[in-house]
């Protein structure tokens, strides 16, 4: 069980700003919090040291390089087949997220394919090498992010 880190309102504001845009100017954050830039920088350091901030990510329009079809694939299979299927999926170059899940599917995969045929090929590859009950393919046509919707709650220290 991960230990929960106590954060306050200022930390909450900092995280909120950086989640929206990692390149938000420190001076801007400092102004809106009524603190010095040094104070903000120190808080960010602490949040990184405590593992609250794990790193950063860039989302960019991958269609520019031919990655046109973001899709999530849901797989239903026996746990005995997991290693085999996971190995196949990990060898693919366009798979970005692979998670075990509970619910409608047992494994959830997110990938971005260059063409629809590639997705179908992956489906056939998995079906040919492992015993899978079902493979569902959902093509993402218009993703919209609302990262500010996630509640970054301050726990009073």
């Amino acid at each position: 069980m991960t230990n929960i880190i106590r954060i306050d309102e200022i930390d909450s504001k900092i995280l909120g700003a950086l989640i929206k845009d990692a390149r938000t100017k420190i001076t801007e954050i400092a102004k809106s919090c009524g603190l010095s830039s040094t104070a903000i920088v120190n808080r960010i350091k602490r949040l990184k040291n405590e593992g609250v901030i794990e790193g950063s990510v860039l989302f960019w329009d991958m269609s520019v390089l031919g990655f046109l079809y973001p899709a999530s694939i849901g797989l239903n299979l026996d746990s005995s087949q997991y290693p085999r299927v996971i190995k196949i999926i990990e060898e693919q170059t366009n798979v970005i997220i692979l998670s075990q899940s509970i619910g409608k599917h047992d494994l959830t995969v997110f990938l971005i394919a260059k063409n629809l045929l590639d997705i179908d090929k992956l489906k056939q590859l998995i079906a040919s090498r492992a015993w899978v009950r079902k493979i569902s393919i959902n093509l993402w046509t218009t993703p919209h992010f609302h990262f500010g919707n996630v509640e970054i709650k301050a726990h009073r220290a």
Partner: protein, 152 residues
């Protein structure tokens, strides 16, 4: 988009907070060039989002839920999307083609009670016919650090 743009994207994928100066030194151009190209790529929608990754587990969350939503016949997706945007902790919504649903939403989940509350809230929407859930216990938000591996 040219090679220089791609190099800038690669540097940002490594560290989205790296200074323009730092990127400029690595690539061998002026910081002003990096800044200008970054601004242009943002303006043109090549760069969609540049944000930190937060460990939601450290903030009391247990995982994420993929919500596969089927709409009532005749109801528009727009209606449902507007309503879903209002629900707290739903952080991504996409229309779906093919597959087993009309919309997919991703939500951060604190605990069992909150999944129930979330599913109930979504089912209450007049345009929603059915909701299926996949719950994963990965808590890196919005995604894991491995996300930008496509660029390398």
């Amino acid at each position: 988009m040219d090679e220089l743009d791609q190099q800038i994207l690669e540097e940002l994928a490594e560290d989205a907070q790296e200074s323009f100066l730092g990127i400029a030194k690595k690539i061998g151009v002026s910081p002003k060039t990096v800044q200008t190209r970054y601004a242009r790529m943002k303006r043109e929608g090549v760069i969609l989002h540049c944000g930190i990754i937060v460990s939601l587990s450290k903030l009391g969350y247990q995982g994420k839920a993929y919500l596969l939503i089927k709409l009532v016949e005749g109801k528009t997706r727009e209606e449902a999307i507007v309503a879903l945007k209002q629900i707290q902790n739903v952080f991504l919504i996409t229309e779906i083609m093919g597959g087993d649903c009309d919309l997919l939403a991703l939500a951060a989940i604190r605990d069992y009670k909150s999944i129930l509350k979330l599913i109930f809230e979504i089912k209450e929407l007049p345009s929603v016919a059915q909701v299926d859930v996949n719950f994963t216990n990965d808590t890196s938000f919005p995604v894991d650090k491995t996300f930008n591996s496509l660029l390398r």
